[in-house]
Structure formats: C-alpha cells, structure tokens
C-alpha cells in the first residue's frame, strides 16, 4: 500500500522521486536539497523567461479531474454532496475532486504562480477566478486553449459574454458565474433602505459600514458615484485619485469599519455592520442564515459593478479534455438552472431562465439571478486595466487598507 502523494506538487515530485529509486535517507536529503535549490532558483528567476507549454493530455485514459473553486459556489445538499457534480460523474464516468480552495484572487495567484510560470501542475486541472485575473493569466500565457469541439454547449453562452477584451471569442476561458457588487443594508436597523453611496457614507452610519477588499468592486462603485463610466477608457489616474480620496476619508474617519472579503458576513451577522458594499449572492446566503429577509441588496442608483468568475485550464494540467467535458455539462440549461437556484448568482447560460420558470418559478424573476435589461443597464463591467494602471491602482487601494 502506498499512501497518496501530498497535494503540493513540489513535495509530490520529491516523494515520487524517492519512491522511484528507493533512495537511502542521505540521498533523499540530497534530493530535497536539489528541490530547495530549484525553489530558490525559481524565486530568483525573472518571471516570464520562457513561455510554458501545454501538458500532454491524458484525459482519455485518466478519468479524473480536480476543480478549484470559491466557497458556497455550487449546489450542495445537507450531506455535503454536490448533486449536479454527482450526476456528472454518473453520466461521464469522470471522477471529480471539487476543492474549495479560492477565497481571494491575489492570494490564490500567489500560491500557484511559481507552478504556473514553470508550466507545472498547480493541483487543480481547472479553476474559476475573476475575469481580471483571467486576463492576467492569458496575458502571461499561463492557460491552455480550449477545444470548442469538446464544448458544443458553448453555443448557450450569453452573447454579451462571448467577446471580452482579454479573450475574444472565449478561446481560453469560459464563464462560471457572474454577479453584482452593490449595496446592502440591515432592514431591521435601516427600514428606509439606501439608494446611493452617499447614503452609505452618511454620519448616521459611522463605523457601521463594510466595503469589499476586491479593489474593482469597491473603487468601481465609488467611481460610478462620481459619474465615471468604469467600462470606458476615457478615465485614468486623476479620476481614480479622486475616488481614492473618498475611500481614504471614510476609512480614516472611522466611517468604514473594514475593507474585507467574504468575512464581512460575520460583521453583518453580529451587528457590527449594518450596511456596506457587498456581493449579490452573499446576501441571499446571509438571509438564509438569519431565517428571514433581514438584509436587502440593491444596485446604487449611480450604478453597480458586474463581474464574472471564469473557468481556465492551466498549462500544467494534463486533463484538459475532462475539464472541457465538465464545462460542457454545466452549460446544459437544466444543470445551470439547478446551480443558479442554489448559488443565487447570474448564470451565463442562455436557456437556464426558461428552465427555472418551470422548475423554480419563485426564482425566475429574481433580478439578482436572472436580471432583465433594465437591471443590467445599471451594472457596469470594470474595464481591463493595463499592467501599469493595475499595479498603481492596486498599490493605492492597499495603501488605504493598511492605514498609516
């Protein structure tokens, strides 16, 4: 009996090295030394030296797949099973390991970037990160081309999502879920609700407001409130500086309780926060936990952001075809509707709404899941930043987050 190899690819490689040659302990130490040396070299090597190549596809003989995703992002029953995924396994014979391993784009990138740069397996054959991160991965040449022949259901992709500037025609990526960032409030404390960002920054809410640590959502909403069209390209450093000023003023004054990721939900639950900039699907989850419609979500009248989390297959994945089979499966309208009914985000799959109308009539008119043109006209996609702006804007945002 051999134990399964550890998940960390570097260590897994070391273990298999040791097993292959039945090494003595001293030799193993030597091997580890080489591994550490390689790590040190990898850390020193300037990024993007040689573009990684796609790994050889073994999908036809190896019917397994690992999929990395965010928490509460797929249908789940009380026993912790994923019904749509179980159905997929029965249907295709591909065994899927679903890993909830992403809670922040930057952090996730930080943990796998060395393997990405070297074209090695990252531990997940496919994973879903946010579009701006997908744009970076494509720019760096870290992800494989998808084979349309294996994804006939790609025809169900919402036309509006087919040609993003970072991946025209969706040659290397395919959306998983989309969602809004807007404002939410506790209806017990604020029965009159909020309409704009100015309401959020009103003195009465001092210290009771959280905003998202995702720069494009928080800054996107502030920019929109200042009349900037965040999808267009006719704005830059000056407009951003003005928006940062607003954020910094409200952080320094203590108006904003914290700049946070998903953990802002704890503040909503404990009463520390009663309003904030949040993600649409989270509010449904928070209400489910509260047992009633305690929180209400809305796009500010000045506009909210529309973001997407998207499938990619890293260069080091040898099971691209299995991943494509999975994507194809989730582009069946029936399956997409089932997932949407659970996660409460916007499905990118055309036809899912019709299915939902039959199976989940109470959800079919939910603007957060199946938004109409009216709602969508008030949601904006943050334009893809070039590398210099990306770094400068993020540096400013993190500076405010760290305080002085």
């Amino acid at each position: 009996m051999t134990r399964p190899t550890p998940q960390d690819p570097m260590i897994a490689e070391l273990v298999s090295m040791a097993r292959r040659t039945q090494l003595s302990r001293r030799h193993l130490l030597q091997g580890a030394g080489i591994g550490a040396g390689a790590l040190a070299l990898a850390a020193c090597a300037p990024g993007g030296a040689a573009a990684p190549k796609p790994a050889e596809d073994v999908s036809d003989t190896d019917k397994t797949l690992t999929w990395g995703n965010w928490p509460a992002y797929i249908d789940e029953d009380d026993d912790g099973n994923y019904p749509t995924l179980v159905a997929f396994e029965d249907q295709t014979g591909i065994k899927v390991e679903y890993k909830v391993e992403i809670d922040d784009n930057n952090t996730y990138y930080g943990t796998i970037k060395d393997q990405l740069a070297l074209g090695q397996a990252t531990g997940s054959d496919t994973f879903c990160v946010t579009d701006w991160m997908v744009a970076r991965l494509i720019r760096f040449g870290y992800v494989q081309d998808l084979d349309e022949a294996n994804i006939p259901n790609k025809k169900n992709l919402a036309p509006a999502l087919l040609n993003p500037d970072f991946d025209p025609g969706r040659a290397k990526s395919l959306p998983w879920q989309n969602g809004f960032a807007g404002i939410a409030w506790d209806t017990d404390a604020l029965p009159n609700g909020l309409e704009t960002l100015d309401d959020l920054f009103a003195p009465a809410l001092k210290g009771k407001v959280t905003v998202l640590s995702e720069m494009r959502d928080t800054m996107g909403l502030i920019l929109l409130s200042q009349g900037v069209d965040i999808s267009g390209s006719d704005w830059g450093t000056d407009e951003y500086a003005k928006a940062i000023e607003v954020l910094e003023k409200n952080v320094t004054s203590g108006q904003i309780l914290g700049i946070k990721g998903n953990e802002y939900l704890e503040d909503f639950a404990s009463g520390n926060a009663i309003a904030g900039i949040v993600w649409s699907g989270d509010i449904t989850a928070a209400n489910l936990e509260a047992g009633y419609e305690k929180f209400k979500f809305a796009l500010p009248s000045t506009g909210g952001t529309l973001w997407g989390d998207t499938f990619v297959v890293p260069m080091g994945s040898p099971r691209k075809k299995n991943a494509e089979t999975l994507m194809n499966y989730y582009y069946e309208p029936e399956v997409a509707a089932e997932v949407a009914s659970w996660v409460n985000y916007i499905t990118p799959v055309v036809g899912a709404q019709e299915v939902a109308q039959e199976k989940y009539p109470e959800l079919a008119d939910n603007q957060l899941i199946f938004p109409n043109a009216d709602t969508l006209s008030n949601a904006h996609i943050f334009r893809t930043l070039d590398s210099a702006d990306d770094q400068a804007f993020n540096a400013e945002f993190q500076r405010v987050k760290l305080g002085a």
Binding site: P46, G47, L257, N272, N394, K401, L402
Partner: protein, 304 residues
C-alpha cells in the same frame, strides 16, 4: 536560544569526558542539515529577494536580481508607523502577559506544591486553549467584543466608550488579543523556574528582616529571572511579527495594522516581493538588536 531556559538553569555543569567522537558529529548532522535547508537557504533567498528590482516595462510581480539597497529606505519611509505600532503593541502585550502570568505561575509553581492534583489541573488549564485553533479563539473574541453584545452595550451605557464607538478594531482589542494568545508562552517558562524555587531562600529573607515585598524583589524575582526573560522573549518576538490579531478580519482595523500585515499585503496583495522581503529582514534585524540588548541588560547572557 530562549528555549534553553526550559532546561535546568541551576544544574551543576559537569565536564563531559573529552573524546573526539564522530558519533556526536553524525548525530548533529540531521540538525545541521535541517538548519541549512530550512533556515539558511530561505534566509539567503530572502536577502537576495529584498534587493531585487522590477523588470523594466515588466508586468505585476516580475522582478530581477539587482543590488537595490534603496528598497530598505523606501519601506522604512513608507511603513515606519507600522513598525512603531508593532513594537508598541508587542511591548504592551508582553507587559500585560507578564503581569497576569507571574501570579498565576507563582501560584501553580510554589503555592500549589502541596496539592499536586491542583497543580496538574491548573497547568492543563493553561495549556488547554492550544487544543483549539488560535484562529478560532481569536474569532470567538471578535464575536464576544462585537457591538451588540452585553459587554459593549454596558460599556456604552457607562460612557466608557462613545455611542458610535467599537471595541473591535481598536488598539485595545488588538493588544488584548495578543496578550490572550501569548499568555501560555509566558506562563509555562515562568512556571518551570518558579517550580524549582527553593522556598528556604524566602524563609532566609524573612529571617534577615526583609518584608514580603523586599523578599519578593530581592529574592524571588532574581531567582526567576531566566523564566521572565524566556517568557518575555517567547511573547515579544512572535507578537511583534503577528498579523492575525491586528488584521481587519479579526480584532483590528485600518487604524491598527502592524508590520506583519504590511508584509502580508505586500507579498499577497501587491506581489511586491522585494518590499515584503526587505520588511522581513528589517523586522528580524530590529528584533535581534532589541533582544540582544535586553538579554545583556538583564544579565542572563547564558540564555543565548
């Protein structure tokens, strides 16, 4: 270094027979290899990283080896308040942990000697929190200190904190969290020295007409100095690099960010590895300096 204090401090030093033994060397080898592999190599890599410079027209997270010593000046200029805050908070937490732990350790180690069962029980209680992840315990404190709890409501009613004030996200909650999390690291070394305290010295003190306070300061404290020093080191060093308690997700806010949070943000949020590395090197150097002076002044060089 400080772990030496866990060993016997008063044991007579016996000269081992001097034999050139290769066995000792072989036994030492795994330890040395471990240090070389997991301390020296990363440390060299850290120093090299701290001197890197961005690739010209490069993308985010792309750096090349250089000798950019300015990295150090840049991070100090930008983040000196976070350094000051980190050492201030760590110092405060160390002080409070000492004040709380000393009587506790004294009771367990000296007063409770007659009741071994109570001694064992109390020691277990000191260690018991380790059975639960300290992240969970810190989150629990966050919940206990949140705005709607009776504690905070009472403090507000008494006007101790203003009506729009909070308990979480303040310097108080961060120092509280640090103190709470590091108390066992203070109590255990104190206990190991106090447990060995010869009470006949205390009797001798009172025989020589010293009052209880004088006996304490002149006899008990000097005898327990090794425990105090190792306890304060075990608290101060990790506390000054801590980034959990001060994080906005736990007990802190934008107003309480410590240098550990700055390193984390530079590494994971900004992918600015040279800045993160330079900050880490500076943090290590300052801690080493502070600890060196402290140990020298407290007259316990043999601990190092």
């Amino acid at each position: 270094m400080a772990f030496a204090a866990f060993g016997s401090s008063a044991a007579p030093v016996e000269q081992a027979p001097r034999r050139r033994s290769w066995v000792a060397l072989v036994l030492l080898l795994p330890g040395l290899a471990y240090l070389a592999l997991f301390f020296l190599t990363p440390f060299v890599s850290l120093i090299l990283t701290s001197l890197q410079t961005p690739v010209e027209f490069g993308d985010v997270g792309q750096f090349q080896q250089a000798f950019k010593i300015e990295n150090y000046a840049i991070v100090v200029e930008q983040y000196w308040p976070h350094f000051l805050r980190a050492f201030g908070y760590a110092l405060a937490a160390t002080f409070f942990a000492l004040v709380i732990s000393y009587p506790l350790a004294y009771f367990i180690g000296v007063k409770a000697r007659r009741w071994p069962l109570i001694q064992a029980l109390m020691l277990t209680l000191v260690i018991a929190p380790f059975f639960i992840s300290f992240l969970l315990r810190t989150l629990a404190w966050k919940a206990l200190m949140s705005d709607e709890t009776p504690l905070v409501q009472a403090l507000k009613a008494l006007s101790i904190i203003p009506n729009d004030g909070h308990l979480t996200g303040t310097a108080f909650s961060v120092i509280f969290g640090l103190t709470y999390n590091f108390i066992p690291f203070m109590t255990l070394p104190l206990y190991t020295t106090l447990e060995r305290l010869d009470t006949r010295y205390l009797e001798a003190g009172s025989d020589l007409y010293a009052g209880p306070a004088t006996t304490f300061w002149k006899v008990t404290v000097p005898l327990s100095m090794p425990g105090i020093v190792s306890g304060t080191l075990l608290t101060f060093i990790p506390a000054s690099g801590d980034y959990i308690n001060a994080s906005a997700s736990f007990l802190g806010s934008a107003q309480t960010q410590m240098v550990g949070n700055v390193i984390e943000t530079n590494f994971l949020g900004l992918l600015n590895y040279p800045a993160a590395a330079a900050l880490s090197v500076i943090l290590m150097a300052v801690i080493l300096l502070v600890v060196g002076i402290y140990v020298r002044r407290s007259g316990t060089e043999d601990l190092l």
